[in-house]
Amino acid sequence: MSSRFRASLLALGLAAFALAACDREERHSRSKPLGETIPAGESPDTIWPAQGSPPPPDPRAKLYDNNAPAMAEGQFLYNQMNCVGCHSHGGGGMGPPLMDDEWRYGGRIDQIAATIAEGRPNGMPSWRGKLTDDQIWKLAAYVRSLSGQPSKDAVASRAESMSATTPQTLTPREPAHTSDTADQ
């Protein structure tokens, strides 16, 4: 292998990495404004009559999932809107933990966004009308990061809380199961 070829391969690799990184940091600030509508989050895993499988996720999901600025802003909102007061830094409290592998109402980003927007019957408040659609998606993106769903180059390498919580780059990725104890 010639050194020139090796160099170009390296350059190509770097370019690909840079592009991926660009995508990671994409803020969509110049894209078409998103409609201020409630995320059409799907229900938790359930029976889908005469269909057999859940409908595809909301197309907006991929704009936010794994998106570093969205998660960073989501973390800010998570603290400012007092999500942290109930769910702590993912360990749970008044509300269920968000860093584990159980999702009462589904662990997909659109399902989480729907939970935030609509509330849930056992105590989750409804934030519809208090947060914009965009903010809700960002919060959902951050919530997913608590269980290690995004790639490690998209999350913060330093914990934002004062107590010694593990940096998100070290958060293990949990599978997303539907909770078997939705009544709790």
């Binding site: 109930c86 360990g91 509330g119 107590s163 104890t181």
Partner: protein, 616 residues
């Protein structure tokens, strides 16, 4: 033997029949108390008007108005307790923290569960104690989302043919004790503001006294009195705000200068902060029939981040004495002005008379959350002594001249930084779970914690119906490594007589009996009987879930003494199990998760009544 019996008789006589069943029957106790009993002239006794003779029932969580949690029944003794055996069980169909005691009224047992607050009546006259009825109040499910520390209920109360209890979503309900039919229900709390009700009501003088929870949600704390017959509001006193709201008038005579002045409930806060400043009433009430005063402790100020509320934050973290007819405050003592550690002052208040000069002085005994055991004059609130009953470094002590808590500046949290090694931690040296007080020994049996914490204070935003805390907390074991302790405290000589170190925080209340025993449970499910005089463990039983419930003792329809407790781990300390938390986050459950990371390996959630008696 004759001398022993005479001595025993003497003790019983001097005890002025204070709650001793033997007096009731006019014959000496058969309890073979072997060690030489203390002369009761030297030790504290329950206030006699507030602790009537034991009729074998258990009609209120505190057993009596003096809050002794003492049963005079004495068939079960240190000599025979090893034979104590299970008699029957009952599943409550709940898996959340079970803090309430069973009640027993003339052959029927009543159980009030955590959310959804089922009320069961069990027929003790039939084999196996089958259910007579169940009352389901159907509280709003959303109330679970504003209950800070598990969806507990601390008990029901029986009076004059009715059972009274509160629901998580802020209702007080009266149910006919025979039929299980609702008599009245009154909505007092509003979950949209973050208010819940978890406390056990107290019934006295034809009124039902109820207070709110939500000190972590930016609510404004209050106590209300409802008419016992109709449920109509008789009076309501807030614990913050202007004097007219607090029911402070001409009768108010606080002992210390720091509690005197006009509208301190407004002036000791930044503008309007008193409206969302906490000061709830989620703990225990006592009542003195002689003075017609109800005593209760007030919860923490909010938010926990104290930099957002400079000032003394009255009337939070202190004790009120109020007239039951009008609600007018008689006196107040602020245990910790400007609380900075969530050291609510809601713990039990035991009414006692202690030796003083040549006579006795009416006092209240308070093993307080901040870590000091208070002896205070019942008529004025004057602090007679305040002694730490465990390890405390968050305060330097209590100035008996001014009544002031002396802070330790090294341990004062500041916004934007973490303050480490604060002892006791936020749940205090002792949290809500009450002590028992035995007139036989004059000792207070204190189930408590030994926890310290790191406290990171940060800006809290007030959004109604959401937490208003502003703190990242991480708790861990205090000096010695044991996270809990069970301490027998002599309130007169101000010292521990004995102490049992427990690995886990002790979150169950205590029960003392006329047989000379003390019962308590552990969070890994052991239910223990120890010798009231020595603390020696004499019997234990492993329950299916951790125990945080109040044990009781009653006389069954067959005349035998029974011991009953419900096992169901949870509460703030056990929320890691009942709330299925992830303990990798040290700040979970407001920082308690870190202290009990091992609990999910040691117990599971449940809700089961266990009833014990001696074999025939």
């Amino acid at each position: 033997m004759r001398r022993v019996r005479t001595a025993l008789l003497g003790v019983i006589a001097v005890a002025a029949c204070a709650g001793l069943e033997a007096c009731n029957k006019g014959q000496p106790s058969t309890a073979p108390i072997k060690s030489e009993p203390l002369q009761s002239g030297e030790h504290a006794l329950p206030a006699s008007a507030a602790s009537p003779r034991d009729d074998g029932n258990w009609v209120m969580p505190s057993k009596d108005y003096a809050a002794t949690r003492f049963s005079a029944l004495n068939q079960i003794t240190p000599a025979n307790v090893s034979k104590l055996a299970i008699r029957f069980t009952f599943s409550t169909a709940t898996t959340k923290g079970y803090e309430a005691p069973p009640l027993v009224v003339n052959g029927t047992m009543y159980l009030i569960t955590p959310f959804p607050n089922f009320l069961y009546a069990l027929d003790l006259t039939k084999p196996g104690a089958p259910a007579k009825w169940v009352f389901k109040p159907k509280p709003l499910a959303a109330s679970q989302g504003v209950a800070c520390c598990d969806v507990v209920n601390r008990g029901a109360v029986y009076d004059a043919g009715k059972i009274f209890f509160n629901t998580l979503d802020g209702q007080t309900i009266a149910v006919d004790a025979n039929s299980g039919q609702q008599v009245w229900r009154t909505q007092l709390g509003d979950i949209q503001k973050g208010e819940t009700i978890t406390m056990a009501p107290l019934v006295a003088g034809g009124k039902v006294f109820v207070g709110n929870s939500g000190g972590e949600m930016g609510v404004r704390g209050w106590i209300a009195a409802l008419d016992e017959g109709s449920g109509k509001l008789a009076w309501k006193a807030f614990n913050t705000g202007p004097d007219k709201d607090v029911l402070i008038g001409p009768r108010f005579k606080p002992f210390y200068a720091s509690d005197q002045g006009k509208d301190l409930g407004v002036k000791t806060w930044p503008p309007d902060a008193w409206k969302i400043g906490g000061g709830t009433v989620w703990g225990w009430l006592s009542y003195d029939p002689e003075t017609k005063l109800v005593f209760y402790g007030v919860g923490n100020p909010g938010p926990w981040n104290a930099d957002q509320r400079p000032g003394d934050n009255k009337w939070t973290t202190g004790v009120f004495a109020r007239d039951i007819d009008t609600g007018q405050a008689a006196w107040f003592y602020q245990t910790t002005p400007h609380d900075i550690f969530d050291h609510d002052d809601i713990n039990e208040i035991i009414l006692a008379d202690i030796p003083w000069g040549n006579g006795r002085r009416p006092v209240i005994l308070r093993p307080a959350r901040a870590g000091f055991f208070y002896v205070q004059d019942r008529r004025t609130g004057q602090v007679l002594s305040a002694t730490p009953y465990g390890y405390v470094n968050a305060y330097r002590g209590v100035d008996l001249k001014t009544g002031a808590m002396l802070p330790n500046p090294d341990k004062e949290p500041k916004q934007g930084r973490v303050t480490r090694d604060i002892c006791p931690a936020a749940p205090g040296l002792k949290d809500w779970n009450p002590s028992a007080f035995s007139p036989l020994t004059g000792l207070v049996y204190i189930p408590h914690n030994n926890l310290c914490m790191d406290f990171g204070a940060m800006q809290a935003n007030y959004i109604a119906g959401t937490p208003y805390v502003g703190a990242d907390v991480k708790m861990y074991a205090g000096p010695g490594g044991n996270r809990g302790a069970f301490t027998a405290w002599d309130p007169v000589h101000r010292r521990a007589v004995w102490e049992i170190k427990e690995d886990l925080p002790v979150w169950s209340p205590a029960l003392a009996t006329g047989g000379g025993l003390v019962f308590y449970g552990t969070m890994d499910g052991w239910f223990k009987a120890v010798d009231a005089r020595t603390g020696r463990e004499l019997w234990k039983f492993k329950a299916g879930s951790g125990i945080i419930g109040q044990p009781i003792s009653y006389r069954g329809p067959d005349g035998r003494q029974y011991i009953a407790v419900v096992a169901g781990v949870g509460g703030w300390a056990g929320a890691v199990v009942s709330g299925k938390m992830d303990t990798r986050d040290p700040t979970g459950a407001l920082g308690f998760a870190n202290a009990v990371k091992d609990l999910p390996m040691k117990t599971t959630a449940g809700g089961m009544l266990y009833v014990f008696t001696l074999p025939r």
